[in-house]
């Protein structure tokens, strides 16, 4: 049964389930669904419960400083906002960056993607599939055999190793402070892994923690520090001198570059020997759970990323494009400057536009809050029991591409790259599908495989592999370029505002870990006049638009059966597969939170 993508196809007559807050995400989100008599989700309402204010703090400030502010918007997306911001300013002022800076930005951006993807999978998303309490029942010897079968190349696979992990887990659970694992629904039949697979995943949870702290040191080398590495309009904030032997704070030298390569190699091994095999192993066991595709089967958008030749978007490793109505034979071009392509609507968002019902391109964007609830709302303004989705119901705006709701993220860029004939990506996807079919005995096609919750999670792992592999190329290109005598890392010709035009506007784009990210800036008299960011979770978490088209989160939940509606394992599993970041798409303040999702059924 296909998923309805318009409010007109939804049925809100069944029991209403409210999940607020949705946990293990960055930021604050609420989700309401209606289930029918068979506990199948027939209506979904996704709400950003915080106000979004990213843009307003920047008015009147120096455009060269914007990156430092946007880096503080939330805890996980720091570098993507900073990078996109300096790109927007450079676009507005016509600044070209040196080739070294181009490569170093790639290395930093890909580091961020790797770091983000691995932490997301092991520390936020895995618990939707993996039951750590069940891992206590595992036989370490059988776990060792499983590990060697799943990934023969991974060295940490002895029975003793898994026994140690199990003992540590036991101690942690018995201490009574279940902590990170405190809030699961561990006896829910939606968890299907055998204890050995659960134990293996817990071991990898710990290995991922060790890996992430190493790989992020690349940011310290090129960005001066971590957290919050430095960025620079015109280039990167580090100097290069291969022969330098200085201590911390000195230019990047051969020692530090070799250190970077070692970290890339570690991340490569982990991604290929642990991360991807884990996703495929989990996918194989949940082979009958191919829900959650939603909008991805119809409409996907990517701005394109990892441009090999500076300025030539046709060399993007993951190309830009849009697919609508599920037509994989046609990749439509995307122009982020065209006022008729990317537009934001606020009919169902708590904002208002002076000119009423229409979409605004981000250069003309407006962020004027208007909080009001529809007549069918249940509860009060300060204690909402049920939202009225026919009216305004979210702090997230509704961005649309040529009027279409679009899914963005690793899955979207992988669908576009696959259908654009990118050989590296085709090999990755086909290899994964073939492993999945072989393990499960199924004969699934690419489309039903990818356009699912597990497909979204797999695309993120493949995206991570593409990043680590291409970082080796970036690293080699950087060494070559420096050895050819180019040590320039910044173009400061237009650093001085007296060289700028009186008025300018620009746009910076990126494919952030969570998907298509754009910053649109207007500069006047050397100051920021208007700044609008349309972030990935704004696309995916968007409420309905004027025509009733629903966003990606809402679409992904439809037709999913729930084992126990009072325990929203399936809702969390699919929402987490997007790696939502509500901190960027909306903004701060919740009432006193409880760690556990509060679930109410009416």
């Amino acid at each position: 049964m296909t998923v309805p993508l318009n409010a007109s196809g939804l049925d809100n007559s069944g029991r209403r389930i409210v999940v607020d807050p949705v946990t293990r995400i960055e930021g604050h989100m609420r989700c309401e669904v209606n289930v029918d008599s068979n506990n199948i989700i027939r209506n979904a309402v996704s709400t950003g419960t915080m106000w979004r204010g990213l843009e307003v703090i920047l008015k009147g400030r120096d455009p060269r400083d914007a990156w430092a502010f946007v880096e503080r918007i939330c805890g996980v997306c720091t570098g993507c906002h900073a990078l996109t911001s300096v790109r927007a300013v450079e676009d507005a002022l016509g600044i070209e960056i040196p080739y070294n800076a181009h490569l170093i930005r790639h290395l930093m951006d890909k580091t961020l993607n790797i770091h983000d993807h691995i932490v997301h999978f092991y520390h936020l998303h895995a618990l939707d599939w993996v039951n750590p309490v069940n891992a206590l029942k595992a036989d370490p010897k059988a776990t060792s055999e499983l590990q060697q079968a799943v990934s023969p190349a991974h060295p940490k696979s002895s029975p003793g190793y898994f026994r140690d992990v199990q003992n540590r887990l036991k101690k942690f659970v018995e201490s009574g402070q279940l902590g990170i694992f405190a809030n699961g629904y561990w006896d829910n039949p939606a968890y299907k892994l055998p204890p050995e697979a659960d134990l293996m995943a817990v071991a990898h949870y710990l290995e991922a923690l060790d890996l992430q702290k190493e790989v992020v040191k690349i940011h310290t080398i090129f960005g001066g520090k971590n957290p919050h590495p430095n960025y620079l309009v015109g280039g990167v904030a580090c100097a290069i001198n291969l022969d330098d032997v200085g201590a911390a704070g000195a230019p990047v030298n051969m020692t530090s570059l070799n250190f970077v390569l070692a970290r890339i190699r570690e991340a490569q091994e982990f991604t290929k020997n642990v991360y991807i095999p884990d996703v495929l192993a989990i996918g194989g066991i949940y082979k009958d759970w191919l829900y959650g595709g939603g909008l991805s089967a119809s409409n996907v958008l990517s701005y394109g990323t990892h441009t090999v030749i500076p300025g030539d978007k046709s060399t993007d490793l993951l190309p830009a494009g849009a697919i609508i109505n599920g037509n994989w034979n046609e990749i439509l071009p995307v122009d982020v400057r065209d006022p008729n392509e990317v537009q934001e609507f606020v009919d169902h968002s708590w904002y208002e536009y002076a000119e009423g019902k229409k979409g605004l391109h981000p250069w003309d964007g407006d962020t004027s809050p208007k909080f009001e609830l529809g007549p069918k709302t249940k509860g009060t303004k300060t204690n909402i029991k049920e939202l009225d989705e026919a009216h305004k119901y979210s702090w997230i705006k509704a961005p649309r591409w040529k009027g279409h709701a679009m899914e963005v993220g690793p899955l979207a860029r992988y669908i576009i790259a696959y259908n654009s004939g990118r050989e590296y990506v085709i090999e990755q996807v086909d290899r994964s599908l073939s492993a999945f079919n072989q393990a499960t005995g199924l004969d699934l096609g690419v489309k039903p495989f990818l356009t699912s919750t597990i497909g979204r999670t797999l695309a993120r792992a493949l995206d991570c592999e593409l990043c680590v592999d291409s970082m080796v190329d970036d690293w080699n290109a950087l060494i070559n370029n420096i050895k050819n005598g180019d040590s320039s890392t910044a173009n400061v010709e237009k650093w001085d505002p007296s060289t700028w035009p009186k008025e300018a506007k620009g746009v910076g784009t990126n494919e952030a870990p969570r998907g298509a990210l754009g910053h649109w800036i207007k500069i006047k008299d050397g100051k920021i006049e208007n700044y609008q960011a349309v972030v990935p979770t704004t696309w995916n978490g968007s409420p309905r638009d004027s025509d009733g088209n629903i966003g990606a989160f809402e679409a992904s939940l439809l037709n999913t059966p729930m084992e126990r509606p009072e325990e929203p394992v399936e809702i969390l599993r699919t929402l987490h597969s997007f790696d939502p970041c509500l901190a960027c798409s909306t903004h701060v303040m919740s009432e006193d939170g409880q760690e556990m999702s509060r679930v109410k059924i009416r």
Partner: protein
């Protein structure tokens, strides 16, 4: 072996008193020198990404804005096992969920600080986007830094006033330093400053 000390400020400096923890470590960075076994870190709202810093220290000093329903500007000092419990009991914003998880994750890995102190201050205002510390909270930076100094001195770790000829390398980019951050703020007429009416009814005309 010398104890490794982490002095960590957490919070979001874009949200008024939420920036308290970060401003405390900025204060320390500008005015003091410390021995090599000490790290001073602006943790922002990095959540789980701070876990390695916590794993690597023996003594952890955390500055943070804490919402405990107290009189604004009240300082609360919490130690050792009470810290994670405290941070789970009452949360107000993004990073506190994160930091409780950081401590829990560090405990799971078996690398947990032997000693831990949270120096918190009750905020007056959080719903002021782009705003800075309120006076009652700002006034607590120095007393709170003194608490940390005394605590560390009891453990033979001494923060010395910075000599005047030493140039200060900022923890955060200069454009986020309190002075520049405050002076560059857009006027209220230009940029709406308030939040969600359900939680923040004040000053929201539509509420």
């Amino acid at each position: 072996m010398q104890k490794r000390v982490l002095i960590l400020g957490i919070g979001n400096l874009l949200w008024a008193d939420e920036g308290f923890g970060v401003r405390c470590v900025e204060h320390i960075n500008q005015r003091y020198s410390w021995p090599e076994n000490v790290t001073v870190l602006d943790g922002g709202t990095q959540g789980l990404y701070l876990v390695q810093f916590v794993q690597e220290c023996d003594v952890l000093v955390v500055f943070d804005a804490i919402d405990y329903g107290l009189e604004p500007g009240t300082v609360k000092v919490i130690r050792d096992d009470d810290v994670p419990k405290f941070m789970g009991a009452k949360k107000m914003s993004l990073h506190q969920t994160g930091f409780q998880e950081v401590l829990s994750t560090a405990a799971f890995t078996g690398s947990y600080p032997a000693e831990l102190i949270l120096i918190g201050c009750q905020p007056e205002a959080l719903e002021d986007f782009g705003g800075s510390l309120r006076d009652v909270v700002r006034a607590q930076i120095e007393p709170c830094v003194e608490i940390a100094k005394t605590y560390l001195a009891e453990r033979d770790v001494v923060l010395e006033p910075k000599s005047k000829d030493l140039t200060v390398e900022s923890l955060s980019p200069d454009q986020l330093s309190m002075e520049i951050y405050e002076s560059g703020r857009p006027a209220e007429s230009q940029a709406y400053r308030y939040g969600d009416a359900r939680f923040i009814p004040v000053d929201n005309k539509d509420a």
